[in-house]
Amino acid sequence: MISYLLRRLAFMVPTVLGITLMVFMLLALAPGGIGAGLAGSAGQLSDTSKVAQMQAYFEDRYGLNDPVIVQYARWLGRISPVKFGERDLRTPSGERVAPPRAIDDPPLAEAFPAPTAEVAAAPYAPPAGEQLVPEFKKLQREAEGARRDYIGSVRQFRDALAEWAKQQGPSMAGRLDSKGSARTEDFRGVEFPPDSPGYAKLAAAAAAMRAKWFRASAARERALAAFRAGPYPKSGIPLLPGLVSLDTPDLGVAFSKNRPVADLIAAALPVTLLINLIAFPISYLVAVPTGILASVRRGGWLDVGSGFLFLGLYSVPTVLAGVFAIGFLANRQYLGWFPVSGLHDSAAASMTFLPHTDAAGLWHRGYLLDTAWHVALPVLCLVYASFAVLSKQTRASMLDNFSADYVRTAKAKGVPRKDVVMRHVFRNSLLPLITMFVGVFPAMLAGSVVIERIFTVPGMGSLILEAIDLRDREIILANTFMVACVNLLALLLADILYAAADPRVSFNRA
């Protein structure tokens, strides 16, 4: 059993890798690439050179210049529970603090050597215990700022380089890319004669870049020392100290909201699960008995009627049902029976859990009823489509089993018809119903994306749609990852239930 579970979990790894890689590639292939949303947000700044610097900063911060596959590998490294290298720290509030990132040497350093006098900054001296955290925070901020300056200066240097190259005539200008900007790698080994036109500007940019690099790396050194001094406890469990450790997956920080994705998901996932977990039993409780009755009275009015009704319901797209529900049932123009949006009333926080009547004789619905009132329409829109699939399947497998030989045996034993139906036919029809889980659960999960948009419920669906609008890679990927995990675990659960229900299936042989 344990080994079976482990093997199944191991088989999930390539699947999750595959699905995340596919989504990653999709995002990278899309026009504008992964950072399209960032460029958009930077584009609101008026100053074009500021925009460029901002963009450079974002690209550096999220590593967007690297090849897609490197970016994906980095993402995997974060998501993987097995971490390599220095362990992160964890603040008391649970936030994760990574060690300050290394800074590459400035580009074309050999062509523009450092000016002689560079004064080394004061080394880090660990302060007293309670000062450790504020000091680290200060140094971290400084390092971040210095890095940002440096990245901006690299950008300026590239602009200067491009301008210089254009002044040198076609031999140099040919090294520029199609948009006329310079990639420093393409200028490696190039002579920069000091008497060439525009050299002074270029050298000044290089010197500024060099100085900023020096400051940034010194600040990073100090921040790293402060990091190593251990202002917070280390996160994770070491396996090989300093090299390999175990830690929870890091879902990254959302581009668009500047908040850890894990927090966003932690807020959204319970909402989605709540709706799904209410909907799921309802759909089984309605569909399965209907299917049973339909098969017992095959061709009767219930069979024909439920067949038509459920097929009709199945043919109503979720969006259509949602729009009608919102429009006719919730909107004040018409019936206005249900709330139009959200999951709770604005006053829900101050409600008692159960309904009650206060001293003044006023009735309050309480938190539970309030929630039920809010989720009623979303749940309704989520369940109806699965009725058809489930009851059809129940009916078909019941009918299959009615003509099975062992049912004939049971009848020949003198088992009363009711027991034949429930104990023999239905018990054996359960097996395909468990497998139906596989189909119904993902469909509901997907359905809830749409439903959350329609009913403005702040769940995973709303999160993902917002992220798609903003091209927020981190949220999209983390969402894909979570949905895939939830789904695969549901499938595994279905398989375990199947094995529990069918003695012919055993984990040892499977």
Binding site: Y406, T409, A412, R427, A501
Partner: protein
């Protein structure tokens, strides 16, 4: 080895108990809606037969001749629709099964009349243990507590020659081989000591050695328990070894009834002759096996029976004798004492007194 249950009396031929048929099928006709859209299928069309305690009545005939439908009608397991009882009766212990309420039928089914089927591999419910399925039958028909029922189940398993029955009660059908499953089916059928066992091709799906064991087992249990067995089979070898009385069916009709020795000595109906001729013989060199059709297509075969023309649906209209008006064309005639053959109902035959096939013969009698 079988153990004698207390209270089971030894078979004594001639006693009153054994001289009355336990099951009597009279002029049974069952038809089905045709799912392919054609005319109704008259699966059984006026079949009559009688079964005595301690007797094995073999019902033989080609596929589709209505053997299983006859047995299933006896259990009232024909689904209606598509099935329909057109006429006839099935008397069991003096009551007509066809007129019983479903409630009364429940106690007969599995309790007094039991049935085993051809498909041992699929006839047990795969999701319950053997023990569950045995106990279900026992608890339904005997007023016993669970502990006692378990004892009966263990005994039943032992009776059919399953070793370590206590252990095996907890096992699932898929853990058993085909022969073992058929033994379980028999144990389940016999656990409630039925008066009649309907064995519908119980050994067709099994290999030859197992087949012999199972039939041997049935014979022993039959003797111990005064049970009548209706043995449905294609296999004439099985008939020769096990049957007391043979009833040959064709197209829903009974075409010949006789005790097993007389039938094998001298088959009278051309169809029966065809059945025997179609068995390959070792020492006969033939370039092609004889089929039943080869025999029944030969008009000379139908002239051998003096005083009557054997009934045969495919006979050309001209070859048929003049029929008695307004009556069923088919009549089972006792052409010699204790030998019945299906004949065209001519006015001459109509005049003769008729007795329905009814033979208390058992092998030991001879």
């Amino acid at each position: 080895m079988t153990q004698r249950q207390p209270g089971a009396t030894l078979a004594e031929p001639g006693t009153d108990r054994l001289s009355r048929p336990v099951l009597e099928v009279t002029d049974l006709a069952v038809s089905f809606d045709n799912s392919a859209g054609g005319p109704r299928v008259q699966a059984v069309n006026g079949a009559s037969m009688a079964l005595y305690p301690q007797q094995t009545l073999a019902v033989v005939g080609e596929s589709g001749c209505g053997k299983s439908v006859t047995a299933m009608s006896t259990m009232q397991l024909i689904a209606r629709p598509p099935g329909r009882f057109d006429r006839g009766s099935i008397l069991f212990e003096g009551r007509d099964i066809c007129t019983l309420e479903e409630r009364d039928m429940l106690s007969i089914r599995g309790g007094k009349i039991a049935m085993i089927f051809q498909e041992p591999m699929t006839s047990l419910n795969p999701v319950y243990t053997i023990g569950d399925q045995l106990l279900e039958a026992i608890l339904l028909h005997q007023r016993v507590g669970p502990e006692e029922a378990r004892g009966i189940a263990v005994q039943a398993m032992r009776d059919v020659g399953i070793r370590k029955p206590e252990e095996r009660l907890g096992m699932y059908p898929h853990q058993f081989s085909g022969g073992m499953r058929q033994r379980v089916m028999i144990a389940m059928a016999l656990a409630c000591r039925p008066k009649v066992l309907l064995a519908d091709e119980p050994t067709t799906a099994l290999d030859v050695t197992i087949q012999a064991q199972i039939l041997e087992l049935l014979r022993e249990l039959q003797r111990d328990r005064d049970m009548g067995i209706m043995l449905i089979t294609h296999n004439l070898g099985v008939v020769a070894e096990n049957a007391d009385v043979v009833c040959v069916m064709y197209a829903g009709r009974v075409v010949e009834v006789a005790n097993v020795f007389e039938l094998f000595d001298e088959p009278l109906h051309p169809y029966t002759r065809g059945l025997f001729r179609s068995i390959p013989m070792l020492r006969e060199a033939k370039h092609r096996l004889v089929t039943i059709r080869d025999v029944t297509d030969e008009p000379a075969e139908f002239r051998r029976l003096p005083g009557a023309v054997p009934w045969w649906p495919d006979m050309p209209q001209g070859a048929r004798p003049a029929l008695a008006a307004g009556r069923d064309e088919h009549v089972l005639v006792e052409v010699r004492p204790d030998r019945w053959v299906a004949c065209w109902r001519t006015p001459e035959l109509e005049a003769r007194p008729h007795r329905r096939p009814n033979l208390a013969f058992r092998r030991g009698d001879r």
